[in-house]
Subunit: 412 residues, 2 copies
């Protein structure tokens, strides 16, 4: 089985200023093609230590993936270290220079002189295109092993890896296949889901079931290994059926799907529209719903009615309702959703009011108290939640809970 | 100068299921006491590879901090690896066993047999107390170097490090202090800022200046080392003055401040209010502005006018303006901002219209084209941006650019 090793390069990683998310992303991607990561090294921006790490990684694995240190500044030394490691000179590539100049020209900028260095690649190595930034990657073969250098900026690295590196790696791996499927769940915590699944989650089983929680979403990773892709696929599908049977409508989607994706797809499929009236989430729910391209098919109007005046003036919440029940109340959540739905002429609307904290809580209405109303022509459901955690966490969980309520309220 | 090296142990780190935040936490803590981290290794739960990593780390540094692999299950092998590395037998410590039994007894649980292994420590090494879990840590000296093993659970590791390890490390380091200050910049890219700073960013200088870009924000880390905290503080302050002189109003804040924090503080200080009318950012700008607690002081009304109907009906954008110029146009951005400001009776308003992609672009109005208007009683400024990157990146950069325009438009 071919193995990989990861070399993360950058002083900011060793000084703790930046958490290395690249290594975890690469590890997941590699696992999904059946190429385990044997080791991972984090080193400073120094030629000698980068070269040493490449040697160590080359001793551990067949594929060595380095990230970071390809920028234009003087402390970016991965290019030089690759040249030294490969025993090759850096050569200027005219076409890379032109591409880079185009990158700046499109932004009406003059290319800074510093960026020229990014057009240099060690002799015998090849450049990998960077469609999101100026730094090309590097790929080289040495002693039957493949060495790759990619930028440290996560968005640039991810795209380069997916478009230029992964296809090459797929050619290198033998007939062992790993298929990973993620089941995304909302509505119960990690330990409840683990209890429901019982021995299905035992270690050493194939497929292996892993579980990671984040902001109210629990992701189950089904990881199947077999002699062929078809076999592994079959294992995953059987396991998925089993899990779905046990978990029912806690499962909202698969793989990279967010709750907003799924809710958006369901609305679009039914030709239904939604409006939003947010207070404590302050636009977060609208942001999540419009993360998906094409959201304009089902989302037209959103209000961030952060003040009482906005609630009253824009979506017609009666002032005396606020006076009587307080802005954070079931009645106001209902009036917000109803008002937004009517004003937008939408099929559904969500109204959210609460106290995200850290300040603003009272004994009767503590921080974390949130009312969410999902309103439609047929019904108006309110959920009262008492959430814990910091402001960001309360807001994220509120938005996810609202999306989940809407999902469950949509007719099946 | 004493150096440290970090060894992170765990299959879950190499499979990408868990992002290693322990290494970054330790790095920051060590940097703050003037002990730079020379290298960091991530290895699997295997005795031989853990021993090899301890040897490598011992070659790089004086203090070796390992995390992970101290749990009670069969794949937790750090204890055994430490024993092998130190050439010592594992010895049962009765007092550790009793403490552990107490841990379970307080929870009305019987201690599982599996946990007994956690009472074993290599001969000659000492146990470090764990006040949050069952696994004690290990500290040992070998060849004038200090080797430490801590649990992988972040909360347990952090407490053990702070209470038992840090005080020991402080005794080992000379009277040296490190002070770190971050300067946060918006309005120019990394390479332009590096060119402006020139030799100030040279390696080996004190303070050292590092630079990390993210979503249109460039963070400069000023890292000063000196014989005393006061001296290091003075170095940082002098350096900060110098950088601010060169960079002018590109610098918007310090340390953890976001652009939204700074803009919010400035609005609150002046007693001014802001309203938002967003199209392509879909609520993201409102979300950023309300990430800060207390945003209700300056933010009252936000509209996510995702459809033309919403632009016309809610904030009074003239329908013929949209017909004539298109929804993505300078005129519509201006009308959105003006309409939102008037409707909310706010001092400032931001109007945003654009095409975040990936679909929806045309030849004349390609994906990434965005108009941002910042409107006030005194002036109405529009910025036309042609942004690259995916939908998320276009939206993030648009929101940051809008906040930056507002920041620069606020009277100084």
């Amino acid at each position: 089985m071919k193995k990989a090793s990861i070399v993360s390069i950058g002083n900011e990683l060793l000084s703790g200023q930046t958490v290395d998310t690249n290594a975890a992303h690469l590890s997941r991607e590699l696992l999904a093609i059946g190429m385990p990561v044997a080791s991972s090294y984090t080193v400073a921006d120094e030629i000698a230590v980068i070269v040493r790490a490449l040697n160590l990684a080359g001793g551990d694995a067949d594929i060595i993936l380095a990230t970071g240190g390809l920028g234009p500044t003087d402390d970016d030394l991965t290019r030089q270290a690759f040249a030294e490691f490969l025993g090759a000179e850096l050569q200027m590539h005219e076409e890379l220079l032109q591409k880079m100049q185009g990158f700046f020209a499109r932004r009406n900028l003059q290319m800074p002189e510093k960026n020229r260095i990014q057009a240099y690649i060690p002799a015998g190595a090849k450049a990998l295109p960077n469609n999101r930034g100026t730094a090309p990657g590097i790929i080289a073969e040495a002693d039957t092993k493949v060495f790759v250098a990619m930028p440290g900026v996560p968005s640039e690295m991810k795209q380069m890896f997916a478009e230029s590196v992964l296809p090459k790696l797929r050619q290198l791996i033998p007939d062992q296949a790993v298929v990973v499927r993620k089941l995304r769940c909302c509505g119960a915590g990690e330990s409840i889901i683990a209890e429901m699944l019982g021995e299905l989650m035992q270690r050493g089983r194939n497929p292996l079931i892993n579980c990671t929680p984040e902001s109210g979403i629990v992701t189950l990773h089904i990881i199947a290994t077999a002699g062929s892709g078809d076999e592994a696929q079959q294992l995953v599908e059987n396991s998925e059926k089993l899990l779905r049977n046990v978990l029912g409508d806690l499962v909202y989607g698969t793989d990279g799907q967010t709750l907003a994706d799924v809710v958006g797809l369901e609305l679009a499929r039914r030709g239904k529209t939604i409006a939003l009236a947010e207070s404590c989430t302050g636009g977060l729910l609208a942001k999540l719903l419009t993360d998906a391209s094409g959201a304009s098919k089902y989302f037209t109007h959103g209000w961030v009615t952060y003040s009482n005046k906005a609630k009253i003036g824009e979506i017609g919440v009666p002032a005396d309702l606020i006076e009587k029940h307080g802005a954070v109340s079931e009645a106001v959540a209902r009036a917000m959703a109803r008002g937004a739905r009517e004003k937008a002429c939408a099929d559904y609307a969500i109204g959210i009011t609460g106290t995200a904290g850290p300040s603003g809580g009272t004994e009767q209405k503590p921080v974390g108290l949130v009312y969410i109303c999902v309103d439609s022509n047929d019904e108006s459901q309110v959920r009262r939640c008492q959430l814990s955690g910091d402001r960001g966490s309360v807001r994220r969980r509120t938005a996810q809970t609202a999306l989940n309520l809407l999902r469950l309220q949509l007719p099946h």
